[in-house]
Amino acid sequence: MKNKLFLATFYQLRRKSNLFNIFFIGIFTFLTVLFGSYNSSAIHYMKYDIYDSVKQKTLIVSKSQEELEMEEITLDDVREDLNKLEYVTNVARFASFRNYLYSPSLENSKQSGYVELYASNNSVLPEIVEGTNFIEENKYTMICPQNFFAIDNLEDLWYMKKKDGISTNNLLGQIIPFEYKSNSGMRTYTIELQVVGLYKNNKYHVDENVCYVDESVLEEVLYNQYSDDNDDENGVSNLVYQTDFAIQVDELKNRELVEKELIDKGYSTSPMSTVATAYFDDITKKMNSMTFGILSIIFLFVLIVLQKKYKEEKSQYQLMVYLGYSKKNIRFIYNISNIFNIILSCLCALLISFIPIFIFYKILSIYPFLFHKWRLIVNYMPILMIFLVSLVANFITSIFHTIYLFEDENE
């Protein structure tokens, strides 16, 4: 047994072509590890980090107009009711909960673009690291992230480097003008908001363009957007009678409890998810097809390699029969040697992966690139997949080879 195992394993390393094959499959396996890791990091970011963020702590709560009339309660009663709920930290009219406003070209181009304004109050602001909370004297104030960046499109943020944002000193105290049009597009309004405080960016959440303002400011914006249209008085009245509220839960884990309580109280709730899933779906699709492509290449390559190996070694196997191995022994050696090569390839891939990933981690700790928003997750699963694919290829060839290995004698 020992001798057979030796001939099937370490002896195989003497053959240079085997070493080459092992290395080649190793490289390809490493590539699938890379793709798999990119995929996993993106998915992890979407599933855990983004969902853990402010948006996922937000619920839209509503009660129909009829119910309000039936129960003879006003929206203010509803607001009070919601405020009383445990775990709820912020209640705002959904109509004014958030709005994208455009800040026109300014000296600093980073301030030009869309900013997402959230209705807020002092009790729900993120940690303020510079400046103050909202102040009594002036309602036209806003709290911005330390690293601020108005954007033209969302994708910019995924690739944004930290240094692209506006530095803190610049921003604090500044008055940023925003422009918006009425719904019909007939009138243009401007509103100026002073930055009074800076909050700390969430490490994993895209919040570079998220600012917090008082609810009444957003409500004013909405009224302007609707009331401009003289023909449509309903626009404003619709807004007035809209029954939706947005509430924020203190922690994600409490969301279900709150949801349950709201349903018990006769409200309908829905989560608010505005994550750019399409972007991630796109990444996942690309990476998956690349991984699949590589898997197919490896499958074919293993088939070819095994065919070549068989041709090279056939006469040696026959010699071993002359020298006293039975056919069963030879089949054993042949199959174990193939599996040994496959295992070595996977180990080789692990080794090839370890070193660059180690170096990559080191580099990331200095220059995070896009990973300052991502948690880098290394996915070694493709190695297992390649192992299985190779085993299947081995199984297929070995069926034929062990038949043809002794073909001449069977006649």
Binding site: R14, L319, M320, L323, G324, S326, K328, E411
Partner: protein, 228 residues
């Protein structure tokens, strides 16, 4: 009787065609004799050697090694007989290119581990010394001349002390000088009591042979007139 063929026939069948090679062959090989098997190309010499070496099964009839019918044995048991009782020498030497000379010689002892590691080493060195290659043990086949390679192959054939040596054109790839060396060597083995069976086209083999066998018309004919 070390090796006996009894009413043995061999046909190769491939799809619809049937090649009749040997027909109702019977012969008894004895220890201590040098057999020269001669015959036209395609007569079936290699076929006979392979059947004698238990590499091919006869279509009909029996092969007996030390009065044991090998047809009744399992594949494993036949492999064991090849390993212990039969030594092969081929025209193309058939050495493993990835193994050094001493590893090639050791391989049959390595396959069935009847010897300890030390015994194996000592025996390998003894065999290589016997064929005059004591100082070339660590060389790979490609680093040896044809004659040297064939001597390594002979040393390998002698591992495990087989009683039967089967050689198919052992000198076919050698120059006259090495040819002589190899044949003298095989003759020496016959004198020591082994049954040496050599297939060869070369008439020079006659000088070494104790018995001459001719394969003709699907059968073996011993040249009775010739006896040394």
């Amino acid at each position: 009787m070390v090796l006996e063929v009894r009413n043995m026939s061999k046909q190769y069948r491939k799809k619809n065609t049937k090649v009749e090679v040997l027909k109702n062959v019977s012969y008894k090989f004895e220890k201590g004799k040098f057999y020269w098997i001669n015959g036209k190309s395609g007569a079936g010499k290699s076929t006979l050697i392979q059947i004698l070496g238990l590499l091919l099964s006869p279509s009909e009839g029996k092969i007996l090694i030390e009065d044991i019918d090998v047809g009744m044995l399992s594949d494993n048991e036949r492999a064991k007989i090849r390993n212990q009782k039969i030594g092969f020498v081929f025209q193309s030497f058939y050495l493993n290119p990835l193994m050094k000379a001493y590893e090639n010689v050791m391989l049959p002892m390595y396959i069935n581990q009847n010897y300890s590691k030390e015994e194996r080493k000592a025996e390998t060195l003894r065999l290589l010394e016997m064929v005059g290659l004591k100082d070339r043990t660590k060389h790979f086949p490609k680093e040896l001349s044809g004659g040297e390679q064939q001597r390594v192959a002979i040393a390998r054939a002698l591992a495990n002390h087989p009683e039967i040596i089967l050689a198919d054109e052992p000198t076919g790839s050698l120059d006259p000088e090495n040819e002589k060396k190899v044949l003298t060597f095989l003759k020496q083995l016959a004198k020591e009591g082994k049954c040496v069976i050599v297939v060869s086209h070369n008439p020079i083999t006659k000088e070494y042979a104790d018995k001459i066998l001719l394969i003709e018309e699907h059968n073996i004919r011993e040249e009775k007139s010739y006896e040394k």
